[in-house]
């Protein structure tokens, strides 16, 4: 008799996607409405979350598009049950387009604009009343059993040290392999941290053109870094990585890429915050900066993030649970409030990698069924949109 397929308790959405959280998202279209959006979300926390950001105006071309695409992606995300779009009124980001995305996904949505509402106090009062009503409905929504093949797992590492490549990243890679074997998907970002390990990922591409795309994206990022006339070692590896024993970006990348699995096929390479549509492993074009990378991968549709760390880092995401694991026993003890899972036994021969991966897989399923992560308990809901050009 075969073992039952692992399932989690999630939220099935009208558009067919499945969420692991049921947030009310109060999304500011522009930095100018961010404070009001945060206040309204806070009135119904932790169901209510906001996306405070510094963009939405003063941007040209690709950056404006990235801002728009990212905010829209969050409005349609399956971890979001309802949306309030908080506009100012004169900004570049089009509030109605964000609202349309939520509406098409079958979510209740309101648009409130500070300039037409008549000031921040009236806007806050009106939006808070809406938020309370929406949050009460979201609270009553039941979870139902969902197959793990519905999951898109974002794999991420940050504050890496020598334990990341030896324990936590290979354990996470085994979870990605298992999830994909069960019909799910995984997404890996941080292009700069694939540099030096791209040959291993490209060799796993299902189609040659996918491997070629990966190499083109990596070449572009390397060229951008080199155009500054500097040694990338000023930032990659980061100073803490170097103190932790990592010497070059190649070494960091070879350890980091383990988290994308060992045998999962590379099925797609997509732009920042672009919708992930393929099973298997997708690589997303994100920077290495933790919050920008996680923001983009969740925008792409990942419902849950597993974030490995050696030195210990606290950051989360507004709408997706971020599970922190470490292979460093000292970090597990010294930053216990930030860490969800300790896999340091792998390096101390107290646990096999397969056993650590099995515990991590169970943790992912449990968190997807509603158990809060350390980032959620501590209220770490960082959000940052990738920017490549100056503010105009």
């Amino acid at each position: 008799m075969s073992a039952p397929r692992p399932a989690f308790q999630g939220y099935r959405r009208p558009d067919g996607r499945v969420g692991v959280r049921n947030h009310l998202l109060v999304v500011p279209t522009v930095i100018c409405s961010a404070v009001v959006a945060e206040r309204v979300a806070a009135s119904v926390a932790p169901i209510g979350v906001s996306l405070p950001h510094t963009a939405g105006c003063g941007q040209l071309g690709p950056d404006m598009q990235t801002t728009h695409d990212t905010l829209r992606a969050y409005c349609g995300h399956p971890n979001v049950g309802a949306v309030i779009v908080m506009a100012l009124g004169c900004e570049q980001v089009v509030a109605q387009q964000l609202a349309d995305e939520a509406r098409h996904a079958g979510k209740p949505v309101h648009v409130v604009a500070i300039q037409s509402e008549g000031g921040t106090i009236r806007t806050t009062e009106r939006a808070t009343a809406m938020a309370k009503e929406l949050a009460a409905a979201l609270e009553r929504a039941p979870r139902e059993a969902c197959d793990v093949s519905e999951l898109i797992l974002s794999v991420k590492c940050g504050g890496s040290d020598y334990t990341s490549g030896l324990a936590s990243n290979p354990a996470l890679g085994r979870v990605a392999d298992r999830l994909v074997a069960l019909g799910g998907a995984a997404v890996l970002g941080e292009i700069a941290e694939i540099m030096g390990a791209e040959h291993l990922l490209a060799a796993r591409a299902l189609k040659p053109e996918t491997g070629a795309r990966l190499l083109r994206v990596i070449n572009r990022v390397e060229s951008e870094a080199m155009s500054l006339g500097l040694d990338i070692r000023g930032t990659q590896p980061a100073p803490g990585n170097i103190r932790g024993g990592l010497t070059t970006i190649e070494e960091k990348s070879l350890g980091a890429t383990h988290k994308g699995g060992e045998r999962t096929p590379l099925t797609d390479v997509v732009g920042y915050s672009a919708r992930i549509t393929q099973k298997g492993l997708t690589v997303m074009d994100t920077p290495g900066l933790d919050v920008e990378a996680v923001t983009g991968m969740v925008g792409g549709g990942a419902q849950v993030v597993v974030f490995t760390t050696g030195l210990g880092t606290p950051t989360g995401n507004p709408i997706a649970p971020v599970i922190k694991i470490t292979g460093n026993a000292r970090t597990a003890a010294s930053m216990a409030d930030n860490i969800d899972l300790d896999v340091s036994g792998v390096l101390e021969h107290r646990e096999t990698l397969d056993a650590a991966a099995a515990r991590l897989f169970d943790e992912v399923v449990t968190v997807c069924s509603g158990r809060p992560t350390a980032t959620e308990r501590l209220g770490f809901r960082e959000f940052a949109i990738y920017r490549r050009n100056p503010t105009i």
């Binding site: 040290d161 020598y162 334990t163 490549g165 030896l166 700069a192 540099m195 030096g196 390990a197 040959h199 291993l200 390397e222 870094a225 080199m226 155009s227 500054l228 006339g229 500097l230 040694d231 990338i232 070692r233 990659q236 170097i242 932790g244 024993g245 010497t247 070059t248 970006i249 190649e250 070494e251 070879l254 350890g255 390096l347 101390e348 021969h349």
Partner: protein, 111 residues
């Protein structure tokens, strides 16, 4: 716990799982004798790595030795260079960014 770990048989470095003192004989790494202090998490050479050749970990190159590295030596930024993202080697420094705000003219005082 083992003092060091060798990840791939192709590797010419091992990773110290605990700090290694000079003179320590590393049974997990073919009996190499440490000639430097190796901090926890840092790398130690298993074989002679001549200048200009690849330092290999995870079975892949992680960079190039900048000096001849003897077995037992600490292998890190002081004797390994990355081959990637070296804008400092190929491009002239970027011109200074134009001023973001109007600045007063230089009065020649050097102030």
């Amino acid at each position: 716990m083992s003092a060091v770990i060798v990840i791939s048989p192709a590797d010419n470095v091992a990773t110290a799982l605990e700090a290694v003192e000079p003179g320590c004989v590393l049974a997990d790494a073919g009996g190499v004798i440490a000639c430097d202090a190796i901090p926890r998490g840092h790398k130690i050479a298993l074989r002679p790595i001549p200048a200009g050749t690849a330092v290999v970990k995870y079975g892949s190159s992680i960079g190039t030795a900048t000096v001849d590295i003897p077995p037992g030596a600490h292998v890190h930024t002081h004797n390994v260079a990355s081959a990637r993202g070296r804008g400092d080697l190929v491009a002239p420094p970027a011109p200074p960014a134009p001023p973001r705000l109007a600045e007063p003219p230089d009065n020649g005082s050097g102030a």
